[in-house]
Structure formats: structure tokens, C-alpha cells
């Protein structure tokens, strides 16, 4: 059985114009020890998908309006708040994009990591201190004794993100959701953090949902990928296969629009980048049919009327597109 099984998830937000779906009939599964890449641009619904799984959608403005999230034999969407809280930080963990704003500036790194233990009722101070030290060593923080006493502003961005990962790993979760964990970091530090996540999923056989918009990160670090656009998954499959033979016009365009390093021979003329015309739709716009239709090179009359269903084209590689060329 899959570790995480998201089925037809719908998450709605209240807007002045009425409820709008940020996540629309999204389905995917994550196995233990696997990294699933969730790729999409801003507003594609990838972060809201993550928040829905964690039960962190602000119920003042949004709600899970349909579907199920299967995890360890339970449906997380039906779980009472208290039970969900007992899971969060213990069996399900999340690391956020901006470590500086996700950490509390008023507490030391040590106290914040220890908070994960306190929240689950482990109040033995001496034991917690030791566990925090072990966690900091696990994520390769140099001088853990010193870092423990520092405040977030006193350590570097890479260290903060590692401290966040340490916090997320407090109870060795089964599922780790990493929402753009390296967007705020420099490339050399990015490599350190991603290599760390990769090593931990091997050592602890974590299931990982890695949310990113960086095509390079998806190619290098994920086993399977789900491409999101306008709140829906438009293509999913094994990473190598999706990159070798993308089927959905959006995936095709996205992969072609990214400049590649060292693809040009010395002296060779530079080519124009392939563009996807137009811009990313906002969830406030109501559209019938496929949300990509107005930017798509292969759009047909049918695309404007009917949402294309997800169809499996080859084993494990599915896409939601009417275009037959996608087959």
C-alpha cells in the first residue's frame, strides 16, 4: 500500500467572487523511500496541496471540499483536529520555503527544535537536549552545541534550513513534505540541503514530496514527478520518462523553455529560447475546459469546453490532454 494516497482532492478558498478551487481533483500516491516531485509555477496549487495534506489550510478562508488523503489506513480529511495534531511533526512533517520567516526569532534554535518534543508530551529536558543534539548532528550542522544556543538571525540561511529539517525529523516521520526548500538559498548551499534530504530518505526510508519549480532539481532528485497547472495535475510519471518523452503541451513547453548549461558547443550561435506565450492563470478566473487551452499550441474547440480526463498513455505515465499527439 502506498504511504500517502491523495485521491480527487479539492481545496477551495473563499474569494469576494465566491469559492474558487486552488486544488482541483488532484490525485497522486507516494511510496516509502520515494521522492515525488510536485512541479508547477506560482498559483498552480502545489503549496495548497501540501498544506491540505498537513491539515494546515486556514479554515477561515479555505476548506477541503472533496476527495480523500489516505495515510496509514486513515483519511486525513476526516480526522478530528486533535488526532491530526498528534500526527503532525510525528509521522507527517513539513519544511517550508523561507526558513527565516518559518522560525520564531525570539527562541533559540535548540528551544525551537525541542518544542517539537514538548508538543507531543515529551517534557524531559535533559533527554530532549540530547535528542536535539543528535538531530543537529544528523543534518550535519557543524558545532551543534554552539548552534543550539543561537537565535535564527545569528546563523546562515543554509544552517537555518538544516535546523528546519532537523525539526521536521524530530520523530523520524514517515512522510516529509518539502515546499521549495532551497529557493531562498544559494546554489552551493542548495546542493548541500538537497543531498541531505536525499540521504535521509535513503537512511530513514522517508516518503518525500518535493515541491519545486526548478526543472533541474526535479531531474536530479526525484523518482516520479507530477506536473501541476492551474490547480490540476496535467502530467505524471517516472521522472526519466516524463523528461525523455513529455506528453502534455505544458510539460513540453516548460522543458523546452529552460536554458541548459553547456548545451552550446564553443563558437556555436545561441538559439532563441522557446517561449510559452501568455501568463499563468489566476484561480479567480473561472474557465470551462482545460486551463492551459489559451496558451496551448495544440488547442482544439473541445479544449475550451471539456476538462480533459487523466489518461494513462504508457505504464505509470498519465496525462490530462485532449490532443491525440499526447498519446
Amino acid at each position: 500500500m502506498a504511504l500517502l494516497d491523495v485521491n480527487n482532492l479539492v481545496t477551495e478558498f473563499t474569494t469576494p467572487a465566491g469559492p474558487r478551487r486552488a486544488v482541483n481533483e488532484v490525485s497522486f500516491a507516494v511510496q516509502r523511500g520515494e521522492i515525488l516531485g510536485l512541479v508547477g509555477e506560482s498559483g498552480s496549487g502545489k503549496s495548497v496541496t501540501a498544506l491540505s495534506i498537513m491539515g494546515l489550510v486556514d479554515n477561515q478562508v479555505g476548506r477541503i471540499a472533496g476527495g480523500s488523503i489516505g495515510f496509514g489506513g486513515m483519511d486525513l480529511t476526516k480526522l478530528p483536529a486533535a488526532e491530526l495534531r498528534a500526527l503532525r511533526g510525528k509521522r507527517l512533517s513539513m519544511i517550508f520555503q523561507e526558513p527565516l520567516s518559518a522560525l520564531n526569532p525570539c527562541y533559540t534554535i535548540g528551544d525551537q527544535i525541542a518544542e517539537a518534543f514538548l508538543a507531543h508530551g515529551d517534557t524531559d529536558k535533559r533527554k530532549n537536549h540530547q535528542r536535539v543534539l543528535d538531530l543537529l548532528r544528523l543534518v550535519h550542522i557543524p558545532d551543534p552545541e554552539g548552534v543550539l544556543r543561537r537565535y535564527p538571525h545569528e546563523i546562515s540561511g543554509g544552517m537555518r534550513q538544516r535546523a528546519m529539517i532537523a525539526m521536521a525529523l524530530a520523530y523520524t516521520p514517515e512522510l516529509l513534505i518539502a515546499d521549495e526548500p532551497t529557493t531562498a538559498l544559494d546554489v552551493t548551499i542548495q546542493a548541500q540541503v538537497l543531498n541531505l534530504i536525499d540521504r535521509l530518505r535513503r537512511e530513514l526510508s522517508l516518503g518525500v514530496v518535493l515541491i519545486t519549480h526548478d526543472i533541474g532539481i526535479v531531474a536530479q532528485y526525484t523518482d516520479r514527478v507530477a506536473v501541476m497547472y492551474g490547480g490540476r495535475i496535467v502530467e505524471t510519471g517516472p521522472t526519466a520518462e516524463v523528461f525523455a518523452a513529455p506528453k502534455h503541451p505544458y510539460t513540453i513547453g516548460l522543458l523546452a523553455s529552460v536554458p541548459r548549461l553547456r548545451h552550446r558547443k564553443p563558437g556555436e550561435k545561441r538559439t532563441r529560447l522557446q517561449e510559452i506565450p501568455g501568463s499563468v492563470p489566476s484561480i479567480a478566473e473561472i474557465t470551462q475546459g482545460c486551463r492551459f487551452a489559451n496558451r496551448c499550441a495544440h488547442s482544439m474547440p473541445q479544449c475550451a469546453q471539456q476538462v480533459p480526463p487523466m489518461r494513462e498513455r504508457t505504464a505509470g505515465h498519465a496525462t490530462a490532454c485532449h490532443w491525440e499527439g499526447a498519446a
Partner: protein
């Protein structure tokens, strides 16, 4: 300068910018940050130079010095052969016509209360004596040039998407017919699918107006795609500088090598785990002695810890390293 003087647009010599840090007590000695430290840059008319480095390495300070938004503490900047290092008043305003800036975040850099054409007209109002009607016309023509419509010229920034806003930012930079455009991370705030549009637009405008660009970015693939030459900066110094192809195909400085190796390659069939380069960027107010990269460098020796390497010519590029076998 001899010979190529006519074609040399920008000459930066030994440029340094030092900031004085605030002291916690008046009895503490003064401390400084050398944000930019002895930088030399040459840019020819029509050429594009990429500046690459991690956050805090001084690349934005360098750009601000070149644009004379900051007055450098040392060295000289010549634009078109004229020294503008300490220019003031009318001379500085004249120089500013020739160089313009495209900002990173098109959401923060456009005044939300101005219409698109007013935003583009603003530099004309400030630095040219074009009559109002003509300035309006020119602003609208520029907006059309960057791919917006006449009707959109009347709209406010919030009515545009990120990519369209960046187009306004570019039109605004072009308003005064500059020779040099500095773009600080021009696409990093944009969606991936929109980046290609802006990069292509910049390439088209460069060809059409014979512009020179200085593009600051941490994305090496973008630098390789748009730039002729590249300068890699580490802690305020250029560690390697030369033609993009030369450097990216055979980097000589260990830092350049590490940077290139750290970029995740968008090809899942070529998986490699970059040997992590250890540690973080050191604190710029207390840089390590000798070569500032030595604490993170796999090749560091006793020499590196004591003596900063001088830039030297090697295989068609300039590199500052003791150990470039």
C-alpha cells in the same frame, strides 16, 4: 587605453566599496565591510557581461557603484572614456542617461499609483526636455516595442502579470536610449514559463538598439544563454573572468568549478551528486586571510591561507588562484 578606446563602453579599474559598520560602543575600533574589493571590468559596446556570485558576494553593490547610486571608496569608473567615479550634479545626470537599471522584482519596483505609460515617461520627465505629448507618445511606442498594447498603456501595475510588469520595467529602462542596461536578476521573480519570453525580449532589444548589458544572476544557465563574457565574484573579488564558453566549458578556479557542479542538470539520465562544497559564505566583515575562498576550497594549501592570489591570464581568461594546474 590605446587602440580599442572607441569601442570600450565601460572601464572599471580597481573599484572598491567599503562600508563602515555601526559600532556597538564608541570605544570599539571602526570595522568595515569590503563589499567590492579591487574589481576590474571592461565592457565593449554591444557586449553582454554576466556577473555571478552567491548572495552577499557584492554583486549588487558593484552594480550600484557602476550606476553611481553609490560613490565608490576607491578606484575609477569610466563610461565612454569619461571618468564618472566622483561625478556630481549635471555631469552625473548626463551619465545616468546612458545607463539604466532593470530591477529584480517587478512587483516592488513599479509605483502602484502610476499607469504603465506614466511609469515609462517618468525617466523622460526627469532627464530629458521632451514636451509632454511627445513624451507620452514615446512611452506608448516603447510599451508596444516590449510587447504590450496601446490599450494596456493606460492600465495600472496591478492589472499586469509578473512578466508584463517586467516588460514595463524594461521599457522604462529604455526610455532614455541608454547605452548600458544593468539588469539585476531580471527573471528570478518570474514564473519559469514566462522567463524565456523576457530573455528573448532582452536579446531582441539588444540587437535592435545595440545595447550593452550587465546581467547579474545566480542562474548560470541564464548567464550562459545571454552573456558573451562572465565574471565570477566571491566575497567582493572577481575570481575568474572571461568568455562564457571558455569558462563554462573548462572552469579553472575551484569556486567556479564548484558553482557549475552544484547546478542541478535538467537531464535525469545524467544524475550526479555534486561533491558538496563545504560550509557557507564567510562573514564579509571578517573575511578569512589570504585567498578568501580557502576555508571552503578542496585545493587549499598553506600558501592560500597566507597570501591572496593575484589575477593572471591563463587559457584565455583571467583567474585568481594559486593552484590552477
Amino acid at each position: 587605453m590605446s587602440g580599442g578606446k572607441d569601442s570600450m563602453l565601460l572601464e572599471v579599474d580597481n573599484l572598491s566599496m567599503r562600508f563602515t559598520l555601526r559600532r556597538r560602543s564608541p570605544f570599539q575600533p571602526k570595522r568595515h565591510v569590503h563589499a567590492v574589493n579591487g574589481i576590474n571590468i571592461r565592457l565593449r559596446q554591444g557586449e553582454t557581461l554576466g556577473i555571478v556570485g552567491e548572495s552577499g558576494c557584492g554583486k549588487t553593490t558593484l552594480a550600484r557603484c557602476i550606476l553611481r547610486l553609490l560613490e565608490p571608496t576607491d578606484g575609477s569608473i569610466k563610461l565612454n572614456g569619461r571618468d564618472i567615479t566622483h561625478a556630481k550634479g549635471a555631469t552625473l545626470r548626463q551619465a545616468r542617461r546612458d545607463m539604466q537599471f532593470v530591477f529584480q522584482d517587478p512587483y516592488a519596483s513599479l509605483d502602484p499609483r502610476m499607469r504603465a505609460y506614466e511609469l515609462v515617461r517618468e525617466p523622460l520627465d526627469a532627464l530629458s526636455d521632451l514636451p509632454r505629448a511627445e513624451a507620452d507618445e514615446r512611452a506608448i511606442a516603447l510599451l508596444e516595442k516590449v510587447g504590450l498594447t496601446r490599450a494596456q498603456a493606460k492600465q495600472y501595475p496591478h492589472q499586469f502579470s509578473g512578466g508584463q510588469r517586467q516588460r514595463i520595467g524594461i521599457a522604462r529602462a529604455l526610455a532614455l536610449n541608454p547605452k548600458l542596461v544593468l539588469a539585476d536578476e531580471p527573471v528570478s521573480a518570474l514564473d519559469v514559463s514566462v522567463r524565456a519570453q523576457i530573455l528573448n525580449l532582452m536579446a531582441d532589444l539588444r540587437a535592435e538598439f545595440g545595447l550593452s548589458y550587465i546581467v547579474i544572476s545566480h542562474d548560470l544557465a541564464i548567464i550562459e544563454h545571454v552573456c558573451d563574457r562572465v565574471a565570477i565574484i566571491y566575497l567582493g573579488r572577481i575570481v575568474e573572468q572571461g568568455e562564457v564558453e571558455t569558462i563554462f566549458n573548462a572552469p579553472k578556479h575551484p569556486y567556479t568549478q564548484a558553482l557549475l557542479a552544484a547546478i542541478p542538470d535538467p537531464d535525469p539520465t545524467e544524475r550526479r551528486r555534486a561533491a558538496d562544497i563545504q560550509g557557507d559564505l564567510p562573514n564579509p566583515s571578517a573575511p578569512p586571510p589570504g585567498c578568501t575562498f580557502h576555508p571552503r576550497c578542496p585545493k587549499a594549501t598553506a600558501l592560500c591561507r597566507q597570501q591572496a592570489p593575484e589575477p593572471r591570464q591563463l587559457d584565455g581568461r583571467e583567474v585568481s588562484c594559486h593552484h590552477t594546474d
